[in-house]
Amino acid sequence: MNKLNVNGITSVLALIGLIAATGAHGAASGPSSAAASAPAPLTLNVGYTKGGSALKWFVAQEKGFFTERGLHVNAIGFTGGIAAATALKAGSVDINLTAATGVATALSAGVDIKTFYASYDESAADWLVARKDSSITGIQNLKGATIGTSRGSTAWVCVMSMLKAEGLVGKVDVKDIKAQAWVAAMESRSLDAIQGWPPAAQQIVQSLGGRKIADCSSYARETIIWEAPAEVLTAKKHAVLVWIAAMEKAGKWISENPSEAAAIWSKYSGVPAKDAASALPYIEWLSVKDMLDPKHPSNMVNPDGLAKQYATYRSILDEGKIFPAALPDLARSIDPSLISEYQGHR
Amino acid sequence: MLMTAANAMGGSATPPVIDIAGVQKRYGHVVALADVSFSVARSEVVAIVGPSGCGKSTLLNIIAGFDEPTDGTVLVHGAPIVAPGPERSVVFQQPALFPWLNVRRNIVFGFSRARAARQSARVDEFIDIMGLRGFEASYPYQLSGGMMQRVSIARALIRDPEVLLMDEPFGALDAQTRLTMQELLHDVWARYAPTIVFITHDVDEAVFVSDRILVMSARPGLIRDVVEVPLKRPRSYELIMSEAFVDIKRRVLAELHA
């Protein structure tokens, strides 16, 4: 009986803690906007995916492109691009590297999220890799196979688009395997193939002798973008503009110094440098110019660019019932105002 | 007055059940028992009294086989002790009943299933003598302290031991129950005439239950004196007021305080 009473008290305490936490959230967005109105110093809390391909960002950080512009960056690593919605909502992250699925998560979490910068297109580097001893040699004999990928991720959207395009829906078993278990699941022979993003996909090919079956470029373009809540873009506008400048410099630097870039990538992602180097040629690093170019497939200015990709993602995610409710229009998050301003200043 | 081994011997002509000669027990530099010798005759009740730390429990543990002497010999029916065994059944101060067994199963503990079945009538007999009728299926937690010691005694007796080793068996009981148990012990003796070594620190109890009292002193543990108790059996508790009883008690107390 006493024990139960104690339980009751603990639950009440837990609930009070919860209220306190939500209260603190409300307060948290206050100081951050107040800090932004003060002139210096410029700071940004940046969310990124640890094992992923945030290479431009890694380079800018490593080569001091932020600090030379007086921008202080706090790095917050997440295990998956879509895990950051909570942090964005709570105000602990200002800007976050993600893709359309992350935008969908943030929007369904009720964050007024904006896509303000398109970082790179990795669809040619997102590979379907078969186990070396599997009988799968191409998409044509994928029927009856078991494929693993992280459900709801860009790679998953890619697989689903591929199955749809190849008429294989319902004929391939798609398992939900988190990125940290990809190699283990392949080695244990539980899977015939993995759909993985760079540099993990290239690592599986190189280290395990996996066979590349297909990439995503012909099924679903995968532009990796930076997102931020609308109020951050207003309150920390100057910091974000400085940040864009550093990112642009990093993009140029990568194409000029590929081997050093691979070393930095390896250092940040934990993937061996030779695997990172082999992924590099498949990634298209976007510049502000590309983002504003109406003919570029990742452009942020007309319905044929990023907006088209977002529409594809939305329908695939909705079909897969990834989110509890139907998604809103993801393209409404695309906001080229900052990159336009950046371009205008130049 | 110093005791010699010869004085400590029982006067009986039959060979002794227990024969202890020159037993010493040292724990490092601490001498728990220094040269203890005595013997116990068949059907004799020998009480050992002494202050705490005099080594009386050590002595009993050695006879039981839980402990080995550093020096000296302990013979039971002329044979040395190698291990604990049911022929030297112990009644411990704390009722050592197995809480997961009921009264009946505690009594036959250690018996094979076949032997337990064969002894079924004797189990009933002990249950009756010990006043446990109606409690055969009870578990230890359902029993009072006195009841638990009755079960312990029944368990010790059913093994037909050469000697019953009782280590302050009534020490944890209240005065009233202790009295009843002491009288019960007399009934048991009258029926089965077991040989008993009875450890106690209660002089009244020692005089009441025994034929002979070994008075021990502490540091080092020694037998200081042997007091004969020539009181007739059966004994009842009126005896405690008699001059003969008081006289023996006085002698024991005098030795203890010397």
Binding site: M1, L4, N5, N7, G8, I9, S11, V12, L15, L18, I19, T22, A83, A85, T86, K89, T105, A106, S108, A109, G110, G148, R151, G152, K175, D176, I177, K178, A181, A184, A185, S188, R189, S190, L191, I322, F323, P324 | A64, G65, F66, A83, P84, G85, P86, V90, F92, Q94, A96, L97, F98, P99, W100, L101, F109, G110, Y139, Y141, Q142, R159
Partner: protein, 262 residues
């Protein structure tokens, strides 16, 4: 009159028991229906019930809700039962046999501080993405826990009972079977109860990286996509199933240890 008093005392007890939970529920209602906390942070009780019904009808991530519950319970019980079956005798031997303890004890002393979760990727590698990798993970947790409890159980067998056993002529295996094992049972059962809750906590973690169903999978997946109502349904179900498992083992403990008179 005495009966009446106990009846009213019992009613009071139930009232007290209900008051803690009822208070929380009331506070929850005030917070969510009063609009103090947004439903994105704390869904309303009716919102959760609604989501529960949806999940019960349509399932979650290609599996029915019952499949999620069943998978987790199955993995937990399989790992737990195997862990108890292997850990208890090993622990008893470690406690009883000094030479065994000296030779194999250090292995377990080394393994004990490693959280089983750390093995997750390894087990996926060795055993694949099916149930086996999760069951072995839970097995390890339950096994190490039972080992410790059984060993401590042996140490807690009163010395006087060991002496009484030896006095009855028992030694070695006889003493082990007739005194040490039953005497360690209270410690073993307390250990088993904790091991079961440890197993239940482990299944949630075991389902994080390569499971296709299970309450742990459901909760982590819902968390990733900010599906707060499903998250709450999952958490509440984890709590309820955990409570049922605990009550069940408590009942078994009471039956087995009736002789403790509690």
């Amino acid at each position: 009159m005495a009966a009446e008093r106990t009846r009213s005392a019992q009613m009071l007890r139930w009232l007290r028991r209900g008051s803690g939970l009822g208070g929380c529920l009331a506070l929850w209602c005030i917070l969510s229906y009063g609009g103090i906390v947004s439903p994105g942070f704390l869904p309303s009780p009716s919102g959760i019930v609604e989501r529960f019904i949806e999940l019960a009808e349509n399932g979650y991530a290609n599996s029915s809700l019952w499949q999620h519950i069943f998978d987790s319970v199955y993995r937990t019980l399989a790992g737990f039962v195997l862990g108890v079956a292997a850990g208890t005798p090993t622990g008893l031997l470690l406690g009883y046999c000094r030479r065994f303890d000296e030779s194999v004890g250090p292995i377990f002393s080394f393994l004990r501080p490693i959280p089983p979760i750390a093995y997750t990727p390894l087990f996926v590698l060795y055993l694949g993405i099916g149930d086996a990798s999760k069951i072995v993970l839970i097995f390890i947790g339950a096994f190490l826990y039972m080992l410790l409890s059984a060993q401590a159980g042996v140490r807690n067998v009163p010395e006087v009972l060991v002496r009484a056993g030896r006095n009855a002529g028992l030694g070695g295996a006889g003493l082990f079977v007739r005194v040490i094992v039953p005497g360690s049972l209270p410690g073993i059962m307390t250990g088993a109860r904790t091991a079961l809750s440890v197993s239940w906590a482990l299944v949630v973690a075991a389902e994080l990286i390569a499971a296709q169903a299970g309450l742990g999978y459901m909760v982590s997946s819902a968390g990733v996509f900010f599906d707060i109502r499903t998250l709450f349904v999952g958490i509440i179900l984890i709590g309820i199933v955990g409570l049922i498992l605990d009550r069940t083992i408590l009942m078994i403990e009471r039956k087995l240890l009736h002789w403790q008179g509690r």
